[in-house]
Amino acid sequence: MAQTGVIQDKLALSGAPFEHSVNRIRVVTIVALIAAWEVVASLGTVGVLYDDVVPHIWYIFIAVFEELISAGFYQDLGITFAEHIVGFIVGSILAVFVGIWMGTSTLVRGALEPYLNAIGSTPKIIFLPILFLMFGTGIESKMAKGALSAFFPVVFTTALGMALINPVLIRVGRTFNLNKWQMIAKIYMPAMVNPVITGLRLGMAITVIGVLVAELKFSDGGLGYRLGIYYEQFRIAPMYAIIVLIFAIAAAANVGMTRLQDRVNRHMAPSASKGKNRQASASGGLGVVANN
């Protein structure tokens, strides 16, 4: 009886009316949020709350438009992009090498893991003073911060991916008497593509945050700097506009990496690596290996 109820529930979840009601909930939620926002904004206008703390939505739209047509925005976007890309590439390459090293030796893994876990679970922003001392407060320290942010998710997923490579593939390689480099090139690397891309996706998202936060603390350019300047000048609508644009850029980067990962998944043999599934379950389905 209960089983029949479950089957009926599952049938009800897959129909067009169900999808319509889900979409209706989404639309109603968005409308309710906009209405609530406007009520709070109006309370500011009539003097119940601080004026301008919550600007009207159309002011934010206008500010977004003004940002998109200003040359300064693209200059700051370029600085943030450069810091992000350099940091991400340097941090990821180092992490992939260290991850492979850890994955190929249980001794190295056991020796390094406690220290990497310790630093990996620490807020990386706390290392900014060291980076400022080493690289100055210019663009270099933000690149270093980006590299530091990218390093940890990539190293953890790479090491885990290495440890979870299908043992049959490794035995096949040994049966053919492959040397260490051939094993890396022919067995480990193809099997590692999926977990490495998972790590890169996480690393890319965390690098964006790392770079922007570093810019907020000390910088003379970049989107984080722009956000900080608007806050200091109490220009609230442009401040919201920058936050909206940063969220949009971060979401677009995340979607791009997810699509790349899906594409790779489709081309990968299912037995090549079991890393992704294990990692997803280890993180409780949230797809995180280390926080930042």
């Binding site: 001794l107 679970s121 001392l133 900080g228 926080n291």
Partner: protein
């Protein structure tokens, strides 16, 4: 029997000590500027000074208090909301994508917004800790409840248990390990965000000490306070990891 030099922990500790000694010599002989990297011995000596000057332990409890307050708020809202999304399938499906996107979003950048609303106060720290803490708790509560075995629920129904008993005696105990994963991730994100905001706005506990030491150009003190933050993070990570292992069935 494993030889001692083949034990990973011993090798790791030995490597760490060798690196510390090399750094000590490099700074001592002037190969590395002591203004950029202090001698490890100076960093160790700086701990009591930082404690006397900045009350390291007291500020640890300030950060801990903020983290606890934000986590409590996240639990208070996150678990009932996760349960609501579980009970109302349509709402669950409607919001699951949004929650996942919010979890990946750089929420730390919202701090100027809360500074404008609450000012440079503890409320800003709690609000900034609450946001990243609540999202994984909501997601994992729903996931945990959705993952409860249908057989267990059928057994409950066959005994005609009330909805209340079904929740307290079947659903919640089965979902606890998954929910706790959400709580662990939430607490870590809360701690990270709170320390980050403390550092950025020079207010609150441990994060403020790091910022203060840097501004004083007290390099050993800066390193000592950074190590203190690492210890706190490790303590949290390790403690919650142990509890999670205890809760998760083998």
């Amino acid at each position: 029997m494993t030889k001692i030099y083949k034990m990973p922990v011993v090798v790791g500790l030995f490597g760490f000590l060798v690196c510390a000694m090399l750094l000590e010599l490099a700074v001592g002989y002037g190969y590395v500027m002591h203004l950029v990297v202090p001698r490890p011995s100076d960093t160790i000596i700086a701990f009591p000074e930082v404690q006397a000057d900045m009350d390291l332990i007291g500020n640890f409890f300030v950060t801990l208090g903020m983290t606890a307050a934000a986590t409590a708020l996240a639990l208070l809202i996150g678990i009932p909301f996760g349960y609501f999304l579980y009970r109302n399938t349509r709402y669950g499906i409607a919001y699951e994508g949004w929650l996942a996107a919010a979890f990946a979003a750089p929420t730390v950048l919202l701090y100027p917004l809360f500074l404008v609303i609450f000012g440079r106060s503890h409320a800003t720290l709690i609000a900034m800790g609450f946001i990243p803490g609540a999202i994984p708790i909501i997601i994992q509560t729903r996931q945990g409840l959705l993952g409860v075995s249908q057989t267990l629920q059928n057994v409950g129904r066959s005994f005609n248990v009330s909805e209340r008993d079904m929740f307290w005696k079947i659903l919640l105990p089965s979902a606890v390990p998954t929910i706790f994963t959400g709580i662990r991730i939430g607490v870590m994100y809360t701690l990270v965000n709170i320390v980050a905001i403390e550092y950025l706005i020079d207010f609150g506990g441990l994060g403020r000490i790091v910022s203060e030491m840097y501004f004083r150009f007290d390099t050993p003190g800066t390193y000592a306070s950074i190590i203190a933050v690492i210890f706190v993070s490790v303590l949290f990570y390790w403690g919650f990891g142990r509890v999670e292992k205890w809760l998760r069935p083998v």
